[in-house]
Symmetry: C2
Subunit: 456 residues, 2 copies
């Protein structure tokens, strides 16, 4: 092969062999994440990296040729950040899925980015340790993707999001150079915080090839409270009262629409007369007493039924009801899932606005989410084959985001910006700030090959 | 005044009036922070900003003339980051010291950067709320400086450092443009994390003019344990055992030298036969039971005396003994205070190394620090008028930092890099990473006027 016929694909194939896929049929499954209504292009090639060397080689070739690279974890994203761009290299990290080390003394786990969240949690549990972040996708999403979107979960109000649990990151820059960020210590103020810059950067700055995550000692006990309320506002009133007197690890909300959908799917017999259901868990040695305090606060706020239990199996069954919320709503039609975060005390206004928008657009919107930290997932259920209804769905989505911004909220609490929220970025962060983010990206990726146009 | 005689100083004076000081005598007090053995230059002018407009005006003038700007909080830094550079503008934020807003519903405080940490804590306490970060300097250091160095304190292991408690920052870029970072929400993944980039950046990226800090509900109770051990290694053994079964908010260590110095100063009657003293506090409803568990762990690890109390006044008296440790050591000579952070389980090796270094260099080194998070402050006591002894002090300082690095530690846990730790930055973060930090700085400050040569 003479030099002048070296294409990106031929170079990739020469360097990486069968880690490179170019058959369009095989690449199809790697074109999109799990978001709907987000654009996706057709990649030039798919690289299924087996190790850091593969990532370095692929990036060097992409860099030389100026080919965009879209890095991809498990593909469970909900904002389109991992959707292919036309003519890009999709760099899949799914095969780099080893838990490299669990260090009980240091209480850390060092993992490759393709490790599934639940697999890390299970590996930690073998040592009596707990990997805390538990996004709804924990059974299927990868740590690399969790870091790239700064994924949340149910326990964030007490224990923080993914970025609060990472201590070191090894990553490959666009030009193939390797960097290590952070330190193995709890406290470290040496230089700029490159670790938290990579967290949530959605593949725009570097490719994460290894991460060291903090583990905790698993709590000895947990207690669960389930309370149903006539109205969502009362449920939030309970959440606000509870945070004055207790620190539950989670307080999850489901509205009337979500309760009905979950019952239909699971036959769990949740109280369908309720306008809102609140699921609270407290952990630690004091959990039983703390749960009783939460239960009382729910009763005081107008709960019609309050149930509390120390039984972990029963608690887990209720958690399961909450976890299937999105799946249950998806059985009712196409769904457009939002991810809006407001200050907790503004939740009543946000929930009221969502109800008003649903009524105005004559759409079903099921809302569930993390009441303890103000992060809601209003989910628009619509008929995607009906273009008029699809248009209404999009308009209502837009109105919810605008309402969220007017309440001092964030356009994304845990799913990221990707393609879906890009139109709202300037309103969210400001023009100067956005330009600054672009300049920071340029510092990492001067030729702009890493997930261009996404995430910032 | 014709255009061609416009100097930076004349422009500053024209724009800012008596906020500008150029008398050398008056500027002297603004030349240095509290670090010893760090170089400090002579500023061109001191600007005591009264508001954001003053900061914008000063930066625009500095930017136009290419004059370096060293931003300064309360001047309590310990690494020389706020030391003047020759011909610089020192931009003091001490007059911007208003608590702008405390929002009990949102549980946030919005403050100007010059607010003293303890004043913020007191203002929050009036609302039954708690500003958690409590650096040793809390009575005299400002929130802006705390953010610029990502200051720690005693409660970090349980509650995190300053950067874990900030939600929004308003800052002025080198060219005078204003940015707002972050969001008012608990979770926010919109774009790159500019907030955590500013945290710990030591005045190199932008000038913080406002910050919104998170507050917590103050715990209802606290219990204190004081335990003395024959050797430091046993105290750490206790800390390691405790973190398997409890989550104290702090576990502070003082070695034999520090205990004696504190007794000399305070006549508190701490156990001078002990090689190490451990001061532990637990908070929350379960604190009494948790403290008992900690006390038992201390006894099991070989403590010769263990005392526990629920009395907050008594607990505060012990905390005071710990807080005066540095002051007590300073009465014994000149001090060179270090700030080394290692993984908690490596503390025995770090402490042993410090003892070996003290013996080898025939120097007194008093070590105290935050055992719960692995952050030690070995303090070299020496006679600064003796050049040979000063040289030994510097060599021993160097050896401690090198030892810390070899244990996977960080060269700074909470004081920052400044001038003092600059020689160790490349060994700490790596050459590629350091270059990347420089490029990120350039994204914020293309002409490099903000605290050049410091912090990264």
């Amino acid at each position: 092969m003479s030099l002048d016929v070296l294409t990106p694909v031929s170079e990739l194939t020469a360097a990486l062999g069968d880690a490179v896929v170019t058959e369009p049929d095989l690449m199809l499954a790697y074109r999109r994440d799990q978001s709907l209504l987000t654009a996706a292009g057709m990649p030039l090639a798919l690289v299924r990296a087996r190790d850091t060397d593969d990532v370095v080689a692929a990036l060097k070739i992409a860099h030389r040729h100026g080919v965009p690279v879209v890095t991809r974890g498990a593909g469970t994203g909900l904002a389109g950040a991992a959707n292919a761009l036309d003519g890009c290299i999709v760099l899949s990290m799914e095969k780099m899925n080893a838990v490299l080390d669990i260090d009980p003394a240091a209480r850390t786990a060092t993992v490759q980015p393709g490790v599934i969240n639940g697999d890390l949690a299970a590996a930690a549990a073998e040592h009596g340790l707990w990997y805390v972040p538990d996004p709804g996708s924990r059974a299927i999403s990868s740590i690399g993707g969790n870091l790239a979107t700064n994924a949340g979960g149910t326990c964030c109000a007490k224990y923080g999001v993914t970025g609060d649990h990472v201590t070191r990151i090894k990553a490959v820059l666009a030009d193939g150079r390797i960097i290590h960020t952070g330190a193995a210590t709890r406290k470290n103020v040496a230089g700029l915080n490159l670790t938290q810059l990579l967290v949530g950067s959605e593949g725009t700055l570097a490719v994460i090839v290894e991460a060291t995550m903090r583990l905790r000692v698993a709590p000895t006990a947990a207690a669960t409270v389930v309370a149903s309320f006539p109205e969502t506002a009362q449920a939030i009133e309970a959440v606000l009262a509870i945070r004055q007197v207790a620190e539950p690890c989670l307080a999850e909300l489901m509205d009337r629409t979500t309760i009905a959908a979950v019952n239909d799917m699971t036959h769990m017999g949740l109280d369908e007369s309720a306008g809102a259901l609140l699921l609270i868990q407290c952990d630690g040695r004091d959990s039983t007493a703390e749960a009783r305090i939460c239960a009382q606060a729910c009763a005081d706020a107008g709960a019609t039924e309050v149930y509390d239990t120390d039984d972990p199996v029963e608690g887990e069954a209720f958690m399961q009801a909450r976890r299937v919320a999105l799946t249950a709503l998806e059985r009712r039609g196409s769904t457009l899932l939002d991810d809006l975060s407001v200050p907790v005390h503004r939740l009543p206004e946000m929930l009221q606005a969502i109800e008003g928008i649903a009524a105005r657009y004559d759409l079903t919107i099921g809302t569930f989410g993390h009441a303890a930290d103000g992060n809601l997932h209003p989910t628009i259920v619509f008929d995607a084959s009906d273009s008029e209804q699809s248009a209404r769905a999009l308009q209502s989505f837009d109105e919810m985001v605008v309402e969220c911004l007017s309440l001092g909220g964030s356009i994304s609490g845990e799913h990221g910006i990707g393609v879906l929220k890009e139109p709202y970025m300037e309103a969210m962060v400001g023009a100067t700030e956005r330009e600054l983010m672009a300049r920071v990206k340029e510092a990492f990726d001067p030729t702009g090959i890493l997930n261009p146009g996404r995430g910032l």
